[in-house]
């Protein structure tokens, strides 16, 4: 908790990875737990394969929807280098939950830039508390590669003060019925990783 008793979460990735749904579920869970909540997401042009950020803040009283730099309890990223790009939002004692998925930006394909080969080392050096998750493989093993976002959601839930039942209720409210079952399993798998996985 920061000075005003607000919990902040930043969820980042690449447009199309399902950041918006993740943000909605966190907000729903916080509201179910009786908190005030504000979130913000990027729409429109930035969604088309660009870097995307969603911000969620909850507590007894929340003013702005934007997370101040250095104040997020959790920075969760669905792509490796996007965690680096948005590092500044994380609080010094916050946890970075990072999917090991790499998505090559067009700037790299066009030969104008290169994807850092030492991304893993950079993550380890930059974040004191880091959980790296192969979310895509976990989701793939469940037969639903599109649920990688919910695996990450499960993992980040391990570092927030909201009960498991509340998370599951939030999933029920926000996920379409035909995808609920597999997403509940994806969430549980992610949450297990947070419990058992290494955080430095």
């Amino acid at each position: 908790m920061t000075e005003q008793g607000v919990t902040s979460v930043v969820l980042v990735g690449v447009g199309g990875q399902g950041i918006l749904l993740g943000s909605e579920i966190i907000a729903e869970a916080a509201l179910l737990a009786g908190f005030e909540v504000k979130t913000n997401e990027v729409h429109g042009m930035a969604q088309r394969g660009g870097s995307v950020i969603a911000q969620i803040r909850y507590g007894r009283e929340v003013f702005g929807p934007l997370v101040p730099e250095g104040s997020a309890q959790v920075l969760a990223s669905l792509e490796k280098i996007e965690a680096l790009r948005f590092y500044r939002f994380l609080a010094p004692d916050g946890v970075a939950v990072v999917s090991s998925q790499e998505i090559v930006p067009v700037t790299v394909s066009a030969g104008k830039a290169s994807y850092p080969l030492d991304a893993d080392q950079r993550l380890e050096k930059l974040f004191h508390r880091l959980l790296c998750v192969d979310a895509l493989k976990v989701a793939d093993d469940l037969g639903s590669p599109r649920s990688a976002n919910v695996v990450i959601l499960g993992a980040l839930s391990g570092y927030l003060n909201l009960d498991k039942d509340i998370w599951e209720e939030a999933l029920r409210l926000r996920v379409k019925p035909q995808f609920l079952e597999v997403n509940l399993r994806a969430f549980a798998a992610g949450r297990d990783l947070a419990r058992t996985g290494p955080v430095k």
């Binding site: 979130t39 042009m45 088309r48 101040p68 680096l84 930006p105 067009v106 830039a113 950079r122």
Partner: protein, 589 residues
């Protein structure tokens, strides 16, 4: 009472519904689009439409209002430029049924071509303006706007911004109160016909209304003083209020929700007891200028940026400046781990039919005047095939202007399907009428894609889900008098290049309709997912010139990301060695 998490846009739609709105019209534009998308769930009780453009939407609502209907019209900030003509005079005639124009600004230009401040329009048109600070206020102020509109018989602007429209927060909902108005126009020419003799009287009437509002605005609960201390007082409005509370917790605050006409008396009362007055407003110095005009000393844009959006981080720097500290002194240098990260700009999606046209245009030495929409992404490398962008429909007319002054190269104007209906037709008519020779390409992907896939006059469907008449772009071109009208399938690269060649080498005007549905909207794969046969690939880089996000290059030979590949097969058509193979190992369709 039900409490739900709603975005600002959803809150506005809900409140409009509860306020007894009979009609909601608009044109899609980030960040305003989701208001009507949320509104249409109430289509049994509220008539909803996507109009061809904002001017039409505004006029549709104006007409309905004169028949005593309660109306909501929605648009982004630049949309109000298009609708400015009816706005300026509707302020004179006044309205009958409540009329609220919800206009969403985009400070920081997240998805816009400029950063104009709609608050200027309220002062310009002499109409009241409300500025909510979160979803709950978006809801409350929508209802207030409707109430004020009917009380003063005047159109009211509800100004949202990106961080209001696209932020979510809890909102306490109520029930719909049906409008007591009986639908029916009552003839009254001196009231509704602004010919000079009556227009002059309307002008005076408008001033009377403003004078009445100038009194009410001082005691209205939408404007409130929060006293905390006398050392520092902050005058603020909209989302900026939230950042003020975070960064200046000890300061007294005058929170202005109904910001035009200005609450002069309240401002004077607030500032009188303070040692220092700071004005924190997003974008222009409208409040600051007015407060100075009241002969009150204040600080504003000297410490708070006028460019870009505000945040608590931005205000922390403002606070430092106010306290005489150079904010850069507090900045922590960026760690080396985050240096040299490759940029990740937005790109045309995998399988986007626009890509083929831009790739083909790369073969010709032409100037391409572009437009507002997904195709603006054709500007960037490696496609790099748009040379100018101005406004909706501007690409068509600008091409004609260049052509008529003797621009030595051929000029090609690009416009989207929805944009063509919005304001491309008049430009095309001009080319035909004034004997132009430019080529117009309509990138028809059967939807308004950039804003999230809305229907338009060419799709054959309406916002309310009805089947409708689909306007034909080709027939419109012919009716305008364009002698050469061609339709092409952009996924057939050879056909695309051949048609472009015919048009570009011609001295006559051409209209080319490149037609293929947006695959993101159609939600279906176009063909088999491909992969690169490393044996055959000669790493020539031709496929990478498509700028397809599914083809990942970098070191070594390109790979196809199967999660992104749409199976459009453009890469197959540009590969000289047949290295793109499907699951069966075939290198051709």
């Amino acid at each position: 009472m039900q409490r739900k998490i709603l975005s600002g846009n959803e809150a506005i739609a809900r409140a409009a519904y509860e306020a007894g709105v009979n009609l909601a019209a608009g044109y899609p534009g980030t960040p305003s689009t989701e208001i009507l998308e949320a509104m249409v769930q109430y289509k049994d009780e509220v008539y909803c439409e996507w109009s061809p453009n904002e001017k039409v939407a505004f006029e549709v609502a104006a007409g309905a209002s004169l028949s005593a209907a309660r109306c909501l019209v929605t648009m982004k900030h630049v949309g109000l430029n298009v609708a400015a003509d009816p706005l300026m005079t509707l302020a004179y005639t006044g309205v009958v049924g409540g009329f609220v124009a919800c206009v969403a600004d985009d400070p920081g230009m997240h998805s816009s071509q400029n950063e104009q401040d709609t608050r200027h329009f309220a002062r310009f048109a002499k109409v009241p303006l409300l500025e909510p600070a979160d979803s709950q206020e978006a809801y409350d102020f929508m209802k207030l706007a409707m109430e004020l509109s009917e009380k003063y018989h005047i159109p009211v602007i509800l100004r949202s911004t990106t961080r209001i429209s696209h932020s979510r927060g809890p909102v306490t909902l109520g029930e719909r109160q049906a409008s007591p108005n009986r639908i029916g126009f009552e003839k009254d020419p001196p009231r509704f016909v602004p010919v000079p003799v009556w227009g002059r009287k309307m002008r005076l009437k408008l001033e009377e209304k403003l004078q009445e509002m100038r009194v009410e605005v001082n005691s209205h609960p939408a404007n409130r003083i929060e006293w905390r201390g006398t050392k520092l007082g902050i005058v603020t409005s909209g989302i900026a209020y939230q950042y003020v509370r975070e960064v200046f917790p000890e300061a007294s605050v005058l929170k202005i929700g109904w910001s035009f006409p200005f609450p002069d008396q309240l401002i004077r009362e607030f500032c009188a007891g303070l040692e220092q007055v700071l004005v924190v407003e997003e974008l222009e110095d409208i409040l600051e200028e007015h407060i100075r005009a009241l002969a009150i000393n204040c600080i504003g844009k000297a410490v708070v940026p006028a460019i870009g959006e505000l945040s608590s981080d931005v205000l922390k720097a403002s606070r430092a400046r106010l306290e005489g500290i150079e904010p850069s002194a507090c900045q922590i240098p960026e760690p080396s781990e985050v240096s040299n990260l490759p940029a990740r700009p937005p790109v045309l999606c995998a399988g986007c039919p626009h890509r083929a046209v831009f790739y083909a245009l790369g073969r010709f030495d032409v100037i391409v005047t572009g437009d507002i929409g997904c195709y603006s992404l054709g500007t960037f490398d490696p496609l790099n095939r748009i040379d100018t962008i101005l406004c909706m429909g501007g690409g068509v007319s600008m091409a004609h202007g260049m052509d008529r002054v003797g621009e030595p190269r051929k000029v090609v104007g690009i416009v989207g399907d929805s944009t063509f209906f919005h304001s491309g037709i008049t430009g095309l008519l001009d080319i035909a009428y004034n004997r132009g020779g430019s080529t117009t390409i309509v990138l028809d992907n059967r939807t308004t894609a950039m804003t999230g896939h809305q229907c338009h006059p060419g799709t054959g469907t309406t916002l309310m889900g009805e089947t409708s008449r689909a306007a034909s772009i080709e027939a419109i071109g012919k009716a305008c008098g364009i002698p050469n009208v061609a339709t092409l399938d952009p996924y057939k690269m050879d056909e695309c290049i051949a048609t472009l060649k015919n048009a570009i080498e011609s001295s006559e005007p051409w209209l080319i309709v490149s037609r293929a549905a947006c695959p993101l909207h159609a939600r279906k794969r176009l063909g088999p997912i491909l992969s690169v046969d490393k044996e055959r690939c000669i790493a020539c880089g031709k496929c990478l010139n498509l700028g397809c996000p599914a083809i990942e290059g970098g070191d070594g030979k390109p790979r196809v990301n199967p999660l992104l590949c749409s199976g459009c097969g453009m890469c197959r058509q540009v590969c000289p060695v047949g290295a793109f193979i499907d699951g069966k190992g075939n290198c051709h369709d």
